[in-house]
């Protein structure tokens, strides 16, 4: 299998518990992060060709990205089924859907490696930054194929190498250093950083017309702004919960110093790099 042997192993129970722990921070920041999230959501929905009236399955919906954007796109005749392994994360999606009066969304706790849906139930299957956390991503891709209609499209967003996404590169190194933690060379978020790895698995899963698209974004947050705080709290929820006020202050000082290296003309010049694996279930 194309490079799959290079994937670091994961324990599903540990992954699930970690998301339950992180859910409070993700919920707290969901609305603040909505605009940034949209810059990733829309290219994913475009890649999957999500359109008005479609039935869409969103895997690893978390606190609602991109399921809510998807619900807005499909309109009143479509249906989005939002799923996640973590009830605490999905509660956030439900809360936000109710606040936005999006009544075309369904919610369910499901494992993308063993989906509880009948064959050919969906026009599109989408997953934003979720497949990296699957112990068996090949199973998840095979399940997506199974529940798609013939010709139905699927799109999966993953992160490129960590160093290409400034916010991760700075926060990971600085927070770990400030808390006295060793660098983690096997962060699950970057399991699909190698180009072609996702596309290879998609082809192996029996999907057709497979391609990987690059998504490179940049941003210019104003000098001195704490744009990184949300990401820091979401990524290091467990570690920061145990930090003393003094440790916390040191973490923030170090993170700020890390971003100072990207300052130019009154703004931080930061970049992000994701990939979208696209494919479709071949017509019968």
């Amino acid at each position: 299998m194309a490079g799959a042997e290079s994937l670091a192993p994961l324990d599903k129970g540990v992954v699930r518990r970690n998301w339950d722990i992180r859910a409070a921070a993700w919920n707290r920041w969901a609305e603040v992060m909505e605009k940034v999230a949209g810059r990733f959501n829309e290219p994913l929905l475009d890649a999957a060709e999500v359109a008005s009236g479609h039935r869409v399955l969103d895997l690893a919906s978390g606190v609602g990205e991109p399921a809510l954007s998807c619900a807005r796109r499909i309109g009143p005749e479509g249906v989005v089924t939002a799923t996640d392994m973590s009830p605490d994360m999905l509660d956030g999606a439900r809360r936000r859907a109710a606040a936005a009066e999006l009544d075309t969304m369904r919610f369910e706790i499901a494992d993308m490696e063993a989906l509880p849906f009948a064959d050919e139930s969906f026009d599109e299957v989408i997953c934003r930054f979720g497949i990296m956390f699957c112990p068996d991503p090949a199973a998840a891709l095979a399940e997506a194929r199974r529940v798609l209609v013939a010709g139905g499209r699927t799109a999966w967003m993953v992160w490129g190498p960590m160093e290409d996404t400034t916010i991760f590169a700075v926060i990971q190194s600085r927070v770990r250093a400030a808390l006295g933690l060793a660098p983690d060379p096997n962060l699950a978020q970057f399991r699909f950083a190698a180009p072609g790895l996702l596309a290879g698995l998609m082809t192996d899963a029996g999907l057709g017309d497979v391609a990987e698209r690059e998504l490179r974004l940049d941003a210019r947050p104003a000098a001195g702004s704490k744009f990184w705080r949300a990401n820091m709290e979401m990524s290091f929820a467990e570690e920061l919960a145990d930090a003393t006020p003094a440790q916390r202050a040191e973490v923030e000082r170090q993170v700020e110093a890390g971003f100072a290296e990207y300052l130019k003309d009154g703004a931080y010049h930061i970049t992000a790099h994701a990939r979208i694996g696209v494919g479709r279930r071949p017509a019968a």
Partner: protein, 80 residues
């Protein structure tokens, strides 16, 4: 998908049935283990896979479709 006849939604104050599973979702749900049909037991708030011998809990109207969270049908449930 079959729907076990049970008390109507407004039949009483049982908090477990305060929120029921969305009807459109029920149409496409199957057992994740067997891909066989499910029965919705409204009184217990469970989705039952007779083929797998498992009952999947429904919490606040959200089906928990994970095999390791399901109750084995030959095992006593938490209420008995």
């Amino acid at each position: 998908m079959s729907d076990t006849p049970a008390a109507p939604d407004d039949d009483g104050p049982d908090p477990r049935s305060a929120q029921t599973v969305d009807a459109k979702l029920l149409e496409i749900l199957v057992c994740p283990l067997t891909h066989g049909p499910l029965r919705y037991d409204r009184a217990r708030q469970e989705l039952i896979s007779d083929q797998a011998g498992l009952a999947y809990p429904v919490r606040d109207g959200i089906p928990i479709m994970l095999v390791d969270e399901a109750r084995a049908l030959d095992a006593p449930d938490a209420d008995s």
